[in-house]
């Protein structure tokens, strides 16, 4: 390791907006080469990639098996029954779609906030969003029982003369999730255009070159194009941020619009959104920790990025914790005996263990992130993120199952237990996610190349603004010494 690699800030301060976002000696060329070669050269993908792809592939096949069985026998193979009609299908749907939200928030909201650190994680976070939404979408479609009729959910003139019921939040879901999926894909593809152009120009194989040429839509980097491109990106970011809020709020309406005790509470929209971001940031960290190690991306995804992600995870986790406290406090304060019973049931009923375990996972263990050392330690970060993912899954489990087991008539009370098919299908969507994600890493640049060049320019341009004789082609150490 050369000693120019980590020139500390004692040698001179760097603009805090970009300090520590890139390490090592970086030029436009090194950035382009390092990031593009991951896509263009198979030898960059070593054993870990094959192993993950293999695991993903095997588990993906479980999804095929589970869905085939489901189509042949119907949703009765799941653990759902009266009174619990919303089992793992809804839990996993909410879990997956929540994971997606952090990706959109990183790419959209942080762009609006002019946070430079988003640049090296936004691409794979957006990919994570899209794959998570794809996993989520499977559940409600198959939960309908007759997925071949799923198009009935959309409003179209039909021979029955019927229209969808606009007063149902389940229908709002159809619009929210399909809008979310299509806008996320659009945003992602538009972000990829300049990088496809880079791949087109660097590819040697003719077929690869042609493929990326088509995908880049003839991008040539003209200033006029960049101007519209940046305007459109900002507008898309401005639109996507409220979109994220609305999607998970609408999912929370699935529960809170009705009057089921435990579900009907005014805080649920922001509380669900925060929970979604919480699990999403956890997933970003779960993906970033191995990726930066396996692909030697430590120069681009620096400890500072991990620190920021951890801070955001902690923040959203605190909002979630506020939600738990507020639900608990107001239930007991309300004096409404139904609300009080429901809260007692959650905490001390047959599913009480799950409740306290989720409090441990989401409320207690992540408080370790207050300690800076933990935020800079990959192992701890990974561990806490896994804990949070489990905790958020349990949260949805507790919300969905506990309220439903106690129907309005005591004679209809019941219990819920999953079957092997619930588990297989969940494993299958995890497999789909892993498989798609590692395929993505193979064929698309997982870090936004043109924004990293811009970052080189920003760091560099600032340092050498008064020193004309240095040309941009000269490597500089980042963070570098200030100009005199």
């Amino acid at each position: 390791m050369d000693n120019t690699r980590h020139i500390s800030s004692s040698n001179g301060p760097v603009d805090p907006a970009v300090a520590g976002l890139m390490e090592g000696e970086q030029t436009f060329e090194t950035v382009s080469e390092r990031l593009a070669s991951i896509v263009l050269r198979q030898d960059k993908h070593k054993l870990p990639w094959w192993i993950m792809l293999g695991i993903g592939f095997v588990m993906y096949n479980l999804l095929g098996i589970a869905l085939t069985k489901l189509l042949l026998y119907g949703v009765g193979i799941w653990g759902i029954d009266e009174p619990v009609g919303w089992g793992w299908a809804i839990i996993n749907f909410v879990w997956w779609i929540g994971i997606g939200h952090a990706g959109t928030l990183i790419s959209a909201f942080l762009l609006l906030m002019r946070q430079n650190w988003r640049n090296s994680i936004n691409r794979f976070a957006e990919a994570m969003t899209i794959f998570a939404v794809l996993c989520a979408g499977i559940y409600p479609v198959f939960h309908t029982g007759r997925p071949w009729c799923a198009y009935w959910l959309f409003p179209y003139p039909n021979i029955l003369g019927m229209w969808p019921g606009w007063r149902s939040p389940l229908l709002w879901d159809v619009f929210a999730v399909s809008t979310y999926a299509s806008v996320s894909i659009l945003f992602w593809l538009i972000g990829l255009i300049p990088d496809f152009a880079t791949l087109r120009d660097r590819a040697e194989n003719v077929v690869v070159k042609k493929t990326y040429g088509v995908l880049s839509l003839g991008w040539r980097g003209a200033a006029e194009h960049w101007q519209r491109y940046e305007t459109a990106s900002l507008i898309l970011a401005g639109i996507s941020t409220p979109l994220v809020l609305s999607v998970h709020s609408i999912i929370s309406f699935d529960f809170s619009i009705g009057i089921v005790p435990g579900w009907h509470t005014a805080i649920s929209p922001p509380y669900f959104v925060a929970g979604a971001l919480y699990a999403g940031f956890a997933m970003v960290i779960i993906l970033a920790v191995p990726l930066r190690k396996w692909y030697h991306l430590e120069d681009y995804i620096t400890p500072k990025h991990m620190d920021w992600c951890a801070k955001l995870m902690l923040t959203s986790g605190l909002v979630v914790l506020y939600g738990y406290m507020s639900e608990c406090f107001f239930s007991y304060l309300s004096g409404n005996h139904i609300e009080i019973r429901m809260m007692e049931l959650r905490q001390f009923g047959p599913y009480g263990a799950a409740y306290w375990f989720l409090i441990l996972c989401n409320g207690v263990i992540p408080q370790l992130l207050w300690i800076p050392k933990v935020r800079f330690h990959n192992g701890w970060l990974f561990f806490i993120s896994v804990v949070v993912s489990i905790g958020m899954w349990l949260e949805r489990y507790v919300i969905v199952v506990v309220s439903l087991t106690r129907d309005f008539l005591p004679s209809s009370w019941g219990y819920f237990a999953p079957t092997i098919w619930d588990i297989l299908m969940y494993a299958g969507t995890i497999g789909q996610f892993i498989f798609l994600f590692f395929m993505f890493v193979r064929v698309m640049p997982m870090i936004n190349i043109f924004e990293m060049r811009e970052l080189v320019h920003k760091t560099h341009g600032h340092v050498h603004s008064s020193a004309e004789e240095h040309s941009a082609a000269t490597p500089v150490s980042l963070p570098a010494q200030p100009a005199e």
Binding site: T27, F28, E29, S32, P155, G161, W163, G165, W166, R167, S168, L171, W172, F175, A176, T179, S182, V183, L186, F187, I190, P194, A197, T198, R200, D201, R202, L217, G218, W219, R220, G221, A222, A223, E224, H225, W226, Q227, R228, Y229, E230, T231, A232, I235, L236, I239, S240, P242, L243, S246, I250, F450, E451, R453, E454, H457, G461, S471, A472, A473
Partner: protein, 176 residues
Amino acid sequence: MSRIYGLVAEFDTAEALLRGAEAAREAGYRRVEAYSPFPVHGMAEVLEHDDPRLPWAVFIMGVIGCATGFGLESWTAVINYPFNIGGKPTFSWPNFIPVAYELTILFSAFTAGLSMLVLNGLPRYHHSIFNTPRFERASSDLFFLCIEARDAKYDPEETAHFLENLGAQLVSEVEK
């Protein structure tokens, strides 16, 4: 003459490109375009690229999206197929908000993305600027400034001389 697209100067920094573009504008050239591997801050102002059509299109389509959603819901729920659900009024406007909102977003987002491409004339199969030597590096680490042959002030000798004086490392005549 008609076989020539223009003269292209190659620079190795964004600052040099920006200075070059500024100088070209000051020298009276109008058909000037800069090509860079990332958006150069300030370039749009220098070359006077500003397209108010895009934000306006997004805004108008957003309003149309909202009206479409709310109109469709109201018409179907109140006039075409009124149906009592849970004793709620047929015109349950608070419940119509989410779908109208999502359609606003859907319409405006796709307008933003697609009008960016359409106004930029993309996708496009080929463009003369790709004939420039070393232009494949315009997507990695080189910066190009093109003065097109269509420009009124364009003169093969004089313009080439002008570009060389800007500190370009290479000036080349590019065919159509």
